[in-house]
């Protein structure tokens, strides 16, 4: 049965159709929440919360956006809300395109061609995890949707309910933050190897 029919049937209260929809999206929603929250228990909470919201609000889904975008928006918002509750303090956000990026203060050293920098190196893996963990939430969610999940700028903007321009700004800051964090480590590592 195609997804449109499944949704119609689920709206009519057909539990088999609803179960099929849940099974179709549960892995993706769980992984999305896990990537944002970096914690298995929290990701499972979000998975349950997302589908409870889907059941509660399914009658309002009018098909203007895709079902995937709709459900991803619910899961992303729930994940961000959970992060905010845990951290208590909201992070400062500046989407102003004229906001001064810190890039100009750095001297660039090229570590991209170093063959020893691979994810098969446990220390490199650890640093990548560390960098993503330290990425401010609002940038992390955009980075995950666009670069890790491979969604388009338009899809990311629809899910996050922000403009495409703001997606690009947050994405640029996310990538720059990660690059700078990893550069600190890789540059030091290359320095030690060459000493």
């Amino acid at each position: 049965m195609d997804e449109k029919k499944l949704i119609e049937k689920a709206k009519e209260g057909n539990k088999a159709a609803l179960a099929q929809l849940v099974q179709k999206y549960s892995d993706r929603i769980y992984n999305l929440a896990l990537r944002i929250l970096r914690n298995h228990e929290d990701a499972e909470d979000i998975l349950q919360e997302t589908f409870l919201t889907v059941i509660e609000k399914l009658h309002t889904f009018d098909g203007r956006s895709s079902f995937f975008t709709w459900i991803y928006r619910i899961a992303t918002n729930a994940s961000l809300m959970k992060l905010r509750k845990k951290k208590v303090v909201f992070q400062q956000l500046n989407d102003n395109p004229d906001f001064q990026d810190s890039v100009e203060s750095r001297v660039f050293i090229d570590w991209s061609q170093d063959p020893s920098i691979t994810i098969y190196d446990q220390e490199v893996k650890k640093k990548i995890d560390e960098a993503i963990n330290k990425l401010p939430d609002i940038y992390r969610s955009v980075f995950i949707l666009r670069d890790i999940e491979g969604l388009s700028i338009k899809e990311t903007s629809d899910i996050m309910s922000i403009t495409e321009e703001n997606v690009k700004i947050r994405l640029r800051r996310a990538r720059q933050f990660l690059r700078d964090y990893l550069s600190d480590y890789f540059e030091e590592r290359i320095g030690q190897e060459n000493a």
Binding site: A16, L47, Q48, I119, I128, I148, L171, R175, L178
Partner: protein, 85 residues
Amino acid sequence: MLERHKQVIKQICDLIGGDLDDSSCRDVLEHLNNCPTCKVYYDTIKKTVFLCKENDCPEELSDEAEERLMRVLNLEEIYKKTKSG
């Protein structure tokens, strides 16, 4: 840093995601060919995204977690029927 570098650095992100129009794309690529500073920035940003992507391992939801989900959603019975074939 020169204005042109700043502008290119902003466009590099769009270039990596394939979100740059053809004409801007050509301009940025031409600048990258002639500017070692921006080229290093481009290569290291690209490698950063690549490493993060490679490091990401999607997980399959465990049977136990799926069962808990179906219980919470009151779909347990239908789920068990589907599972048992």
